[in-house]
Subunit: 495 residues, 2 copies
Amino acid sequence: MGYISFGERPQSLGRRKGADAAMTQAHITPSVSYSFSMRVRDLHRFGMLARIMAAIAEAEGDPGAIDLVRVTPKHKIRDITVNARNDEHARQIVEAVDKLRGVNVLQVSDRVFEMHQGGKIRIRNTVPVNTRDALSMAYTPGVARVCMAIAEEPHRDRELTIKKNAVAVVSDGSAVLGLGNIGPAAAMPVMEGKAMLFKEFADIDAYPICLDTTDPQEIILATRWIAPGFGAINLEDISAPRCFQIEEELKRELQIPVFHDDQHGTAVVVLAGLINALKITKQKLGALKIVIIGAGAAGVAVTKFLKVAGARQIICCDRQGILCRDRLPNLNFSKQWIVNNTNPQDVKGSIAHALVKAHVLIGVSGPGLVSSGMLRKMAKNPIVFAMANPVPEIMPEDAQKTARIIATGRSDYPNQINNVLGFPGIFRGALDSGATDINEPMKIAAAKAIAACITKKELSEDYIIPSVLNTEVVPRVARAVAAAAVRSGAAPRQL
Amino acid sequence: MGYISFGERPQSLGRRKGADAAMTQAHITPSVSYSFSMRVRDLHRFGMLARIMAAIAEAEGDPGAIDLVRVTPKHKIRDITVNARNDEHARQIVEAVDKLRGVNVLQVSDRVFEMHQGGKIRIRNTVPVNTRDALSMAYTPGVARVCMAIAEEPHRDRELTIKKNAVAVVSDGSAVLGLGNIGPAAAMPVMEGKAMLFKEFADIDAYPICLDTTDPQEIILATRWIAPGFGAINLEDISAPRCFQIEEELKRELQIPVFHDDQHGTAVVVLAGLINALKITKQKLGALKIVIIGAGAAGVAVTKFLKVAGARQIICCDRQGILCRDRLPNLNFSKQWIVNNTNPQDVKGSIAHALVKAHVLIGVSGPGLVSSGMLRKMAKNPIVFAMANPVPEIMPEDAQKTARIIATGRSDYPNQINNVLGFPGIFRGALDSGATDINEPMKIAAAKAIAACITKKELSEDYIIPSVLNTEVVPRVARAVAAAAVRSGAAPRQL
């Protein structure tokens, strides 16, 4: 998720500004990602809890569960869960409660850090090995027969080991969320989280492999060398433009699927949303002017994939404005590719200029790059996917007067474009079908399957993309991807 | 477990030969590693089950559980579990039962292959991520705070990720059991099995990494690159002499423990057994003549470690005989090391010659290399650890007339020298103490802790080493290793 930005950590609290204001922390509502639990002791007096809750509300905290822990002759002790905007805000809320007469905050614990304590995944054995017989069958000497079976018939590793359900989540920590190059150790919590999502949503056994190198050739070598035990490789949070070369070479060299989720996962879910959006606006992809803001891993992948899907008029922008021929000498090879494969009229200029008469805006860049004034210059029925996270290119409140359809990367607005809708089903389908690649037809099939999870009747401006908690999505995507794998020749007809 | 030999797979059945006979498959008793389950349908007639069991016994099968599956008006259907000697023997047993009048074998399933189906380990999430709140805390956006905490204070990766409990089981598949260089894919069942043992015995989360290279420098690079997410590295089934260089360089380069279990795990458990054996014979290690047969990973490691423990007179042999100065030009560097550091009188000759007046024989080589005649030339109270697997250098039946104490690698004789007694506790202690290395004092502490699991009262010729199922072993070893880590400076005094 390379384009999620957590760069600015707000130090002060502000009230929401009006439309068109620069994006600030004021847009950040209290969130579970700054959730803490405080143990509060208060005197047995009427109305104490009400006063505590009032203090939390006054400090703009968002209270959740209240659990009575213990009642003593003089006191009540409770655990109160509160969402805050950030660490500083959390401290202010605790202080506000602690200041109340007759109330003490005994202990504060950060719920997010608590959840990550000791890591979030574990290994589990399919059978206990606590008897001599089990040891003899799972390990020596019995295991030798299984090894020999694979040595004699190599394809049997998919049957007799974890391989056919195992995915390596490989990162070098160079583009972790929007945090930048924080290195392999600091990337681990994200890669573990990714492994959790694989397990939760698709029952895939993924293991995080964080590499102590950012050299593309070394990343390629490391991934090739560790590949034998894995059924697929998920590249994650590797910065552009290195990620393009790394993925391309690995796809060529390995006989298992290699998939950079920041690129293709995002592209698939964007296309899914767009397919449904165009059903509402009754437009055809090939006839539309599409502006993509952001030319990192996601931006490049969305551009390529929309072209595969039939888009003909795409203009890409980075922070400097439209990617055009004049800028070629100063661009890396992936941005050069964009110039050579988009913007047929070679339009030059700012993001604002690009958006004039555009039908679709897809933002995979940073907070607040787009104003509502810009949206007003777009063609009729603007479709706006503003996916920078947590603060989008334009806030839905500011876009809603102009845009017909708005999607973001956030869970607290309608139409969340979330990779979790894509990669679990895509890998499930690829693994189940025995595919050696995840190719364009498989990704197109995934996008269509996600879109098809919403019926004609359900479809509306506020509901173009299914919820990440919709349990139908993964199996439908998996089936569609597996079928496309066979049709396209990436997987054998019969397993 | 590099010295476990499964090279010969017997094609015919024989009866046990007398003492001193060449070791053959006749020594292989029916075993759970060739265990199958057959579904048998027989007519409702008195005595049918007895006839089936008689047929199994006649065919020399070793029957286990009998489960009644279903009773129909005419038939009984049962599942019968049987241990055989090998695949061919299993077929003979099935045939013998199927030939009985009124009896049909409906289905046969191989219990070992069944257990390995789809792999033996899985990933498990510590918390479900099936709500928006859980997603926001385990993954984006909440996880960003955890990443930043590690980026700012790198040592917190041990607290906030799986690292402090995670071990990579790294192999290149070049010396898998006694099967030789069968490659990384065919090695996976063993590495998964090892991961299972880590989980079962020490609650360590180990993941198998089978490398698609046998080049020592590439193995070193691959292991270094994947290291950030792991708290320790367990090298496994990498052939000698490459394993020595690989381990040495990795130990120097990485700040986490690196441990080649085929070497040091074996050496630790051998020393544990020897400590207890010498309590019985009332001898001192430094005063004994010790002959080691086998100069692969285990043989070299045992030699080095016994020297550390105080042994002064060691003679090593390979299949060509005693390792001595004359042979130096034709030896690899690890065998050269042996010549330069053992055999002070530079004795030359055969294994038989080496054993004359020896007090201890340690075999980590191949089946049947030692005869009872050779044992008779040893000093008084011979101690014989014949650990080739599954067929030892000399069978206990053939050694027992001469040897005072006999140990093997097998579970069906007393005194099983099994690495499972060592590595789980050693890694547990290293990880718990935050050690950056597993050094000699820690390994000595482990050997003493294993030995100390048997009390003076319990100690006897047939019980010098605790059972692999003794649940006291791992915690005792872990405590001893952690304490030794702190004492020796491999771990900080306070975590």
